[in-house]
Subunit: 255 residues, 2 copies
């Protein structure tokens, strides 16, 4: 049995807030060994002071962008930029977010979500005396499917993949699906109790203590496929345009 | 509080099996109004007799394929085909699956997972007298992120999206993230209790009764973005190659 619930009583987070203290107070004595905390990246960003003026939003997206993957302008003139940010994450607007922020401001993603997760996990284990895991979550769109799901962009003390490579199915045959991304599945489960319209930015998942482990387990950075190895490292229109230019240049050169 | 657990005692499913009866017997009197069942597509395929000889696997992938999205051959010579299948779903190998199947056989996806979900949902509501929702789930890889997560490929009696368009955040500002795909998040949560190595193909999610509704709600087909509207409708290499050929031809024509 898996149980998932949101912590109550998390206050609005201001820059410099001590999230370990905030979460520990909210959790009280409710946590046990093997519980996994899914913390919305937004409150980590706020605590880290990753807040900028909304007027600088487009500039901030550019600054956070390592590589433009695809862009599309809608009939109404709104341009969506799908980019790879400095964390390697491919998303719309480089994670620059205007929801649930103070008027006139937008939030950037935490500087290093794996490091933030590790600091939270270390602090909460010490403070509460229980061996918990910590995920930092963000809401991402995806290719091929509409809508968004919550995913893990930071992780500490929890296995991000359940490694089934070499394991066998009920008939003793090798499993073909080899690498369930349990961190993303945990983040998704947590989103079902957090909601997006209320202040419940931290959820607890209980029932997969087998996934909780040492603080030096690989972080969520290990989930990110690097561009070179990704068959979808570039949007179809962008790749076509690059190919078109190269094809034309090759013929020109041959002439 | 969300609770997620797997039903116990589901037997091996043979072609022609009555899944309504199988699930109803396994669930007994444990289900309540608002519970959501996440049923692994594999057992639906088996009940529907969607089983073919393993020797025909490559041929079956071709037959299930509407459109090749991308292919890549590994250094060991294994070719991965990312394709759009007749359900519009983009995945490796068109969902043709060799795990947890009888020796020498592979499984195709259910013919119409939304119809399968509707039949199951209708039957279970009648038989058990409780208003449940039903998802049919499959394990899918994704662009940009390693590993796989479970997703909803069929749905009945449950909202696949939580429509927050027009809703506001805690500060009264419009929410930017507009369309959480709760069906995929429910499927992901269910996978955390089903596992891949044991026979627990059906999970129950309790605690989001607000997502359960009429039998004529849109199915999981509505999650699938159609190729034309997808910025990643073609792999980067494939789009580049198409562009290259077109660019070369354009210059040739102009000469």
């Amino acid at each position: 049995m898996l149980q998932v619930w949101a912590l109550e009583g998390i206050p609005e987070i201001a820059p410099g807030a001590d999230l370990i203290d905030v979460i520990a107070r909210s959790a009280g004595t409710s946590l046990r060994d093997g519980d996994i905390l899914a913390v919305t990246s937004k409150i980590v960003s706020k605590a880290e002071g990753r807040i900028i003026a909304a007027d600088d939003r487009e500039e901030a997206i550019t600054a956070e962008t390592v590589r433009v993957v695809a862009t599309r302008t809608s009939p109404t003139g709104h341009t969506t930029r799908i980019v790879e940010n400095r964390l390697g994450i491919v998303s719309a607007a480089a994670g620059v977010d205007a929801s649930n922020t103070a008027e006139g401001t937008v939030l950037l993603l935490p500087l290093d979500p794996d490091a933030s997760a590790r600091a939270l996990c270390t602090g909460l284990r010490e403070r509460l005396g229980v061996t918990v895991g910590v995920l930092i979550t963000d809401t991402l769109g995806r290719a091929w499917r509409d809508g968004q799901t919550d995913t893990a962009i930071g992780a500490a003390g929890v296995h991000v993949f359940e490694d089934l490579r070499g394991r066998t199915d009920a008939e003793g045959r090798p499993l073909v699906v080899t690498l369930p991304c349990v961190a993303d599945e945990l983040a998704a489960a947590a989103d079902l109790v957090k909601g997006k319209t209320s202040r419940r930015p931290v959820a607890v998942v209980r029932g997969r203590a087998d996934l909780v482990g040492d603080l030096d387990l690989p972080g969520a950075r290990s989930i990110v496929r690097d561009g070179e190895n990704d068959m979808f490292r570039l949007g179809a229109d962008e790749a076509y345009a690059a190919g078109f230019a190269a094809g034309a240049a090759a013929v020109d050169a041959a002439d």
